[in-house]
């Protein structure tokens, strides 16, 4: 008899794991709470580091899931641990007896309005990284700007925002978006306010160099406050720590690089299973080196941003590893 595997979360991690497991011959059920599959990937326009279209990546991920039973617009209502399986009741009335469970519940974007001093939701020109992706997709409008700023580390590396950790993807996202803005509005001045520039991946440094050559100005210092000028523009203050001097500049658009926080609905599922989370709020893995896809529960696995900020390649790797771990587990069982 084919084993049942339930995957919670239809983002990049859930999609990739489900397509691999279905090819291995398992009976795979994928549950996604939103109306559409794709998770955050569905909200992005072009991807760092090479400018791949998010839409194309998503299409190919979905195409591979043939044979997977996908339930969208569906929540997990309750989960019970049985002897060697999980009894899961879904909001569409279906009950699944799963031999293995994969949590691919991803992340939530930090709520930028919590950093009140940046004025998100107060000043029209202040938007988030996610809003800007929507703009590039043609689903959000901004006025043609003369000057644009990017604020790194919004809701990350910030104990006041209850998140001392780095969100890993937002430096590369900022540089990607800054280039995209410069390509869209050639005349605009573009500034990135950063504390450290974490361009760690393959091709990322090239992206940084590209941005520099396009004339994007990198200012080392955290934006401390934003105010509105009498003309309705934005007055932005920071310290240029390389000059050891306070700096101010008037901008039209300020993009806040909101970080990655644990998914609230993922947490709700974990809570029912008594899964532990680390101080950063993301799920704890069985260890931190050898068993990153395993939880402390037999038969329960993780993939993707559910266990902390990750890039798409990281996420997809984890999904493949999780599929392998699940296969190992079910074969031995």
């Amino acid at each position: 008899m084919k084993n049942n595997i339930l995957i919670i979360g239809g983002g990049p991690a859930g999609l990739e794991a489900s397509s691999i497991l279905v090819k291995m011959g398992y009976n795979v059920i994928l549950v996604e709470k939103e109306k559409e599959l794709g998770g955050h990937l569905a909200k992005w326009d072009t991807l760092f580091p090479d400018g791949l279209k998010a839409e194309d990546l998503l299409k190919s991920l979905i195409k591979k899931t043939e044979g997977v039973k996908c339930f969208t617009d569906t929540q997990v209502q309750s989960v019970n641990i049985l002897d060697k399986s999980y009894n899961v009741i879904l909001s569409n009335g279906i009950t699944v007896l799963a031999d293995a469970l994969l949590l691919a519940t991803g992340f939530d974007l930090f709520k930028a309005e919590k950093k009140e001093e940046y004025g998100y939701g107060i000043y029209e020109g202040v938007i988030t990284n996610a809003d800007l992706e929507q703009f590039f997709k043609g689903k959000f409008s901004i006025k043609k700007p003369k000057a644009v700023g990017f604020v790194h580390c919004v809701g990350s590396r910030d104990e006041k925002a209850c998140n001392p950790a780095c969100s890993k993807v937002c430096c590369a996202t900022a540089v990607k978006q800054a280039c995209h803005i410069k390509e869209t509005f050639e005349e605009a001045d573009v500034f990135c306010f950063y504390m450290d520039l974490r361009m760690f991946g393959r091709h990322y440094e090239d992206l940084y160099l590209k941005a520099q050559k396009m004339g994007i100005r990198f200012i080392r210092g955290r934006v401390s406050e934003v105010a509105e000028t009498s003309e309705g523009r934005l007055l932005v203050k920071a310290e240029d720590t390389l000059s050891s001097k306070p700096i101010k500049v008037t901008l039209d658009t300020l993009v806040l690089m909101a970080g990655m926080r644990p998914s609230e609905s993922g947490y709700m599922v974990g809570h029912q299973l008594n899964l532990s989370v680390e101080e950063d709020g993301f799920f704890s893995t069985k260890d931190t080196m050898l068993s990153l896809q395993k939880s402390n529960l037999e038969g329960l696995f993780f993939a993707g941003a559910a266990t902390g900020p990750k890039t798409l390649p990281d996420t997809l790797h984890e999904a493949r590893s999780a599929a392998m771990e699940i296969d190992n587990y079910l074969t031995k069982k």
Binding site: Y208, L209, Q212, K213, R220, S243, P246, I247, K248, T250
Partner: protein, 109 residues
């Protein structure tokens, strides 16, 4: 007798709205590598003139972009064009030539 009064001191804040964008653009036209500096400080660290007089290409490039031309040019005024900084720049900038171009664009005699 004690005198009271207020003294107006100039702001030490950098105001990017007032920076000289045109001159820096002109510099970039003839010396596109001026944009590639990543502020590592290698040029300043190995500068032969810097041991005697404050000299820093890193800081000068920053000054030019922040609208502090005077300070920037002062930081290069003791350069002897020895080219040591060119050898250490990790971004492969021809720093010696860049300094010559800065002097040309900003009309240093």
């Amino acid at each position: 007798m004690v005198e009271f009064g207020f003294k107006l001191s100039p702001s030490s804040r950098i105001n990017l709205d007032l920076r000289d964008k045109a001159s820096f653009s002109k510099l970039v036209e003839i010396e596109p590598d001026a944009l590639k500096c990543m502020a590592c400080g290698s040029c300043t660290a190995s500068c032969s003139a810097g041991i005697f007089e404050e000299t820093s290409l890193r800081s000068a490039l920053l000054g030019l972009q922040n609208g502090d031309k005077e300070k920037a040019l002062k930081l290069l005024s003791h350069c002897m064009f020895c080219g040591k900084c060119t050898m250490v720049c990790p971004r492969g900038i021809n720093t010696r030539h860049l300094i010559l171009s800065i002097n040309k664009i900003y009309q240093v005699r």
